[in-house]
């Protein structure tokens, strides 16, 4: 049984689908931890364009709202954690530190072009995380 499920989200269509799969493998006692990584590369633009740190928090919460909606509807235990760093490595570090039971992640995020150059986050996570990983298409 998976007690602690790490659901890596970026607000994309894929992470909504990942959330639906996370719900399927979760039991009543499971905790689904939604992890959103605020990307270092976008920090400058995001801070400059937000009126305040409060509105930046709101902006990030809004991004994960569709996923939160999915989890809320099913009534499973969940919480949101916002990390800061480079998405792939940050998720891996967090998952290994917290010794989660499984990582659930969408196969492709928001930006197709960047992934062609940098490689996909889900691939990196799958390779380096020390627990089972579920990649959702």
């Amino acid at each position: 049984m998976y007690k602690h499920i790490l659901l890596a989200v970026d607000g994309s269509e894929n992470s909504v689908r990942a959330a639906k799969e996370a719900v399927k493998i979760a039991t009543e006692e499971s905790l689904i931890e939604m992890v959103y990584v605020a990307d270092f590369e976008k920090a400058k633009t995001e801070v400059l364009q937000a009126a305040s740190s409060e509105s930046l928090l709101l902006e990030r919460k809004r991004k994960v709202a569709p996923i939160e909606e999915v989890l809320k509807e099913t009534g499973k235990n969940y919480k949101l954690t916002i990390l800061h760093g480079t998405p792939g490595p940050e998720i891996v570090k967090y998952a290994n530190e917290k010794q989660v039971d499984v990582v659930v992640i969408g196969s492709r995020g928001l930006n197709g072009l960047q992934e062609m150059v940098l490689g996909s986050v889900s691939h990196k996570v799958m390779k380096r995380v020390q627990c089972p990983a579920l990649i959702v298409k």
Partner: protein, 475 residues
């Protein structure tokens, strides 16, 4: 906030490594910013050393990198041209004094008044000016210059994908300087524009006449420098706050920037401030604590002491290429989306800030005008009260204060009905003008023989209303 011990020794290994990376990335920038300002490279290098070392102790944001910057260099160009280095050093000291005063009087609160449209305008204008400052270094310098700039750009763009530990600009410098030697290519070098002294900075008092005339010359520059420096520093602090998910003390930072500039001026450095780009490099390289800033400053000085005689041989086109990349990195590329998404008035303020800075060559003027413009827009936008009327009931939507009161009076005065109700439940009375406006309307309508009822005043508005009318607030 973390304890001081945590801020210094909470991340020793990460801080030392990232400090070294930052020092390597700082050297070309410090030299290039000196050249923009029209002073010897040593003035920028000494500034970067002094400011980084001092701010490590007195700054309010651990892990942030401060040194000689492009924004400050651009402000002092005219001062250096007209009056020379000694006046610049005096202006730097005065800048520090002004910044300390700002810090003591709580400038962080005032920073909230600088809207994001102005901040975006600021970085974009800065990027454009840094680029424009490079143009004279490549126009008409022969095709070899263009080739070197192009190769530098390629190295700086592509290499970081493969080599992360060493900053790409440094690799570009080493490789391309070596190539000019091997093939004996004749290019302008840093040595043609200034000299490098392989010694530590020392204390001296700027050689200027201490009189009122001097003050008149340096004060406008010092004020502009203080403003620009604090603006970029506090903006950078916000970015580092977000990246590290920790808090910083903005007033301590303002005071710290001041202390750093005062001492820096006495040690022959040009005014500086925090750097967005370098601070981001520091955080990304694992730097979090004060130690990283200290290491960056000390290691930079160490490199200059050891390698100073090699630095003068760096070809100018390589430095120009690096500066073009700095300009690209400084520009906020999210601005184009912002122009579409943001309210029209914000987009206008952003563009106006950029236009004013590029036209006047002065970042401070752009910021001040941008703030004034956006506050006017703000007042204009909240002074629009919407009034719905229905059978003698007037529902007021929006705050009532000096700017919106008149509009309110004018609309309600013209009521035709004999029983008038003014519903203030979606409004708020802010000041004397608002209370006066309500009174005036009631009086005027009653003069016309109408009955008037005011309903829905919220508690705060009612309190103000009674207070201003000298009515006891007991119900």
């Amino acid at each position: 906030m973390q304890s001081l011990k945590q801020q210094w020794f909470g991340n020793v290994r990460g801080d030392i490594l990232s400090g070294i990376v930052v020092a390597l990335a700082l050297i070309p920038e410090a030299i290039a910013f000196s050249i923009i300002a029209g002073v010897d490279p040593m003035v920028g290098l000494y500034a970067s050393f002094s400011i980084a070392v001092i701010i490590a102790f007195v700054g309010g944001r651990s892990g942030m990198i401060s040194a000689a910057t492009g924004a400050m260099a651009l402000v002092i160009v005219d001062l250096v041209v007209d009056h020379g280095l000694q006046y610049l050093l005096a202006a730097t000291i005065l800048t520090g004094i002004i910044q300390v005063l700002f810090g003591v009087f709580g400038i962080a609160k005032l920073m909230r008044f600088i809207p994001n449209a102005v901040m975006i305008g600021f970085v974009n204008a800065l990027a454009i000016l840094i680029f424009m400052a490079q143009v004279s270094h490549f126009l008409g310098e022969g095709y070899m210059t263009y080739v070197f700039i192009a190769v530098t750009l390629c190295i700086v763009c592509i290499l970081p994908r493969f080599i992360k530990a060493v900053p790409a600009p440094l690799i570009a410098i080493i490789v391309l300087t070596a190539i000019t030697f091997m093939f004996n290519i004749d290019l302008k070098t840093i040595g043609d524009l200034g000299s490098i002294t392989q010694s530590l900075p020392h204390f001296f008092i700027p050689d200027i006449p201490f009189n009122f005339d001097t003050l008149v010359i340096i004060f406008p520059y010092a004020l502009a420098l203080a403003l620009v420096g604090l603006m970029e520093s506090l903006m950078t602090a916000q970015i580092v706050d977000d990246m590290t998910d920790t808090k910083s003390n903005k007033n301590t930072e303002a005071r710290g920037q001041g202390i750093a500039n005062i001492i820096n001026g006495f040690f022959g450095g040009m005014a500086g401030c925090a750097m967005i780009g370098q601070s981001m490099i520091n955080v990304k390289s694992g730097g979090r604590g004060r130690l990283s800033t200290l290491v960056a400053g000390v290691f930079l000085m160490f490199l200059i002491l050891v390698l100073g005689n090699v630095v003068v041989d760096i070809p100018m086109p390589v430095l120009v290429g690096i500066m073009i990349m700095v300009s690209i990195g400084t520009f906020d590329w999210g601005s184009f989306k912002y122009l579409v998404k943001a309210p029209k008035s914000d987009a206008f303020v952003m563009l106006a800030t950029v236009a004013v800075v590029v036209y006047t060559d002065n970042l401070a003027i752009g910021v001040v005008l941008g703030v004034i413009l956006s506050s006017l827009f703000f007042v204009a936008s909240i002074s629009k009260v919407r009034i719905h009327q229905n059978n003698g009931t007037f529902i007021i939507e929006g705050p009532l204060f000096f700017a919106s009161a008149q509009n309110f009076v004018r609309t309600i005065e013209e009521a035709k009905e004999s029983n008038v109700t003014i519903d203030l439940s979606s409004s708020h009375l802010w000041d004397e003008s608002a209370v006066g406006a309500v009174l005036k309307v009631v009086m005027k309508l009653e003069e016309q023989g109408k009955t008037v009822k005011v309903i829905g005043m919220n508690p705060a508005s009612e309190k103000l209303y009674k207070q201003l009318l000298n009515v006891s607030s007991a119900h």
